[in-house]
Amino acid sequence: MISDWILQNLPALLLAVPMLGAFATPLFGHVSDSARNTWVMLVSLATLVIAGLLTNEVLINGTLVYTFGAAQPSLAIPADSAGIPFRIIFTVDAMSVFMAISACIVGFAVSLYSITASKKMSGKDSFFALLLLMQVGILGMVCTGDMFNFFVFLEINSLAGAALVASRIDMGVAVEAGLKYAVLSTLGGLLVLFSVGLFYGQYDALNIAVIAQNMQFGMLDKVALVLLLVALAMKSGAVPMHFWTPDAYSMAPSGITAFLVVASQASLYGLFRVLFTLYNVTLDYVTTGWVIIILGVLSMFIGVTMAIPQKDVKRLMSYHAVSQTGYMLLGVGVGLAVLGDETMMNAFGMTAMQGGLFHIINHAMYKGLLFLTAGAIFYQTDTRNLNKLGGLGHDMKWTMLFFVIGALAIAGIPPFNGFESKLMIYESVFMFNPALSVIAMVVSILTLASFVKVFHSMFTGPRLPEYSEVREVPKPMLIAMGILALLVVLFGVFPQPVVDFIVTPAASALVDQSGYIAAVLGGA
């Protein structure tokens, strides 16, 4: 009975639970610190469980359509509306649950980590409320089937993210980074809203499926495409709009940085959704595909070259995040460039897309892990300067181990997960254009080089006198890092089940525009 009700309303609960959790957090904070911590953990765990159930449901039964305010949630089009689905609709397909589950795993690890890591902070009630709200924003962005709704969740995500970036106001620099992030995301959000207006003016609809069905690809649609492309590429931190990432990522508390990576990926999801579901082959897919590929190659290369001279460990990792975003853009861009060509699509296009998408979940895991280890170092030593650190390997053995796992994964060394997705990208991109594949490999080598440098300056060498008091970080932080490290290893050792189970359905759902439209509007 109650379980039926839960199963029926999973997409709504996925948002309702963390939202209720966020607004109730200050109430529990009034009781005591431990009550609030327990509450946050419970909410995070519940969200993870719901995401898992939803994944299971969607992978078995296909795309799930949830209509808010309808008599039956599956009733997308009211009987008296002449075929217009005017309610807010969540369209949860395999791609959405793929993003949702990776966001929830990282979200759970981050809340576990932050509970201990934020001990020295004040204003923890609002900190955790904002953390959960950011999760609401991310999950909303990936689940919604409505352009305006997407904009609203984008704004929730940006506002919560900017406030969290600025949460260490004592130095002023964090607020500066937060201001930069907030101004840029607001401007990006307004561009998205403008293009939503363009769509509404032409098609009288906000629903993605309806717009996709009627897409004419006239002048206004091209303007809307450019605006969406610019805004979402900026939010996902692709070169040349990447300049906010190092500031925001390095100034936010480390747990938040790990989560900001997922927030950027939600924008990346938005970009892919717009390209594949909204426009699909109506656009000139070769040109647009090449635009995405060039964005990806630039991000890869500029990101990694900017990372090498950095002295601040989190800034260095932030530039690597830009560089890794390039891999995802490259993989999916190649898939887009051959979208209309059946033989090329079967030969390597699908593999490239799967590689790009697999890289999203892998990146969320290992980048989250790396930022958490950087935060653990900062927690104990109060500095992120690589020139000052050293000899920490003697006392922080577990952190060192987790760092090594993350670093090898990001550099694409087997048997860690980064290798599997990068291999898929190399192989398929090589068949498309060998030069691109070579660039991708060179970037991987440069990534390895810079992480070897980081490892050396942080962990090796004799014990330094100023860090004689340094001990291993508290257990909850280690467990949070351990969860992500375990997943990094598991995904690396057994990639095939993961690819078969969630990545392939996600890639197929993304290219299948007619399936998406049919799920909402009914019919063939």
């Binding site: 607020v175 500066e176 201001l179 403008f194 009288d204």
Partner: protein, 114 residues
């Protein structure tokens, strides 16, 4: 042409806002530029919802049955609310920056280089 005036005005306001954001050095003025962009987008949305000869979607005293679908008004209202939240947050950031740096000018920022 005359029907396109609101759209042209909206685009001009948006462009002015972006120019303000790019050229001004004062943080408050940058935020004002952002508000201009927002106002332009709102005007654009409202203009999209205008139907010649249509009446407000209130059944009790509607002159004719030709009514305007109120979606854009709802969207504009939502955006105004979001805009207030954003502007409030940005201005409070500026307050903190002013307290720490004793300046609200872009030229005095930039301690994040590295």
């Amino acid at each position: 042409m005359i029907y396109n005036l609101p759209y042209i005005a909206a685009v001009i306001i948006i462009i002015l806002g972006i120019i303000t954001m790019v050229t001004k050095k004062n943080l408050i003025k940058i935020i004002m530029g952002l508000s201009l962009v927002e106002a332009g987008v709102n005007l654009f949305l409202v203009a999209t919802g205008y139907v010649s000869g249509g009446s407000a979607p209130i059944f009790t005293n509607a002159a004719s049955l030709k009514m305007v679908f109120p979606t854009v008004q709802a969207m504009t209202l939502t955006n105004i609310v979001i805009g207030i939240a954003t502007t409030a947050m940005l201005l409070s950031f500026v307050m903190v920056i002013y307290k720490k740096y004793k300046s609200a000018s872009v030229t005095d920022l930039g301690r994040l280089k590295g």
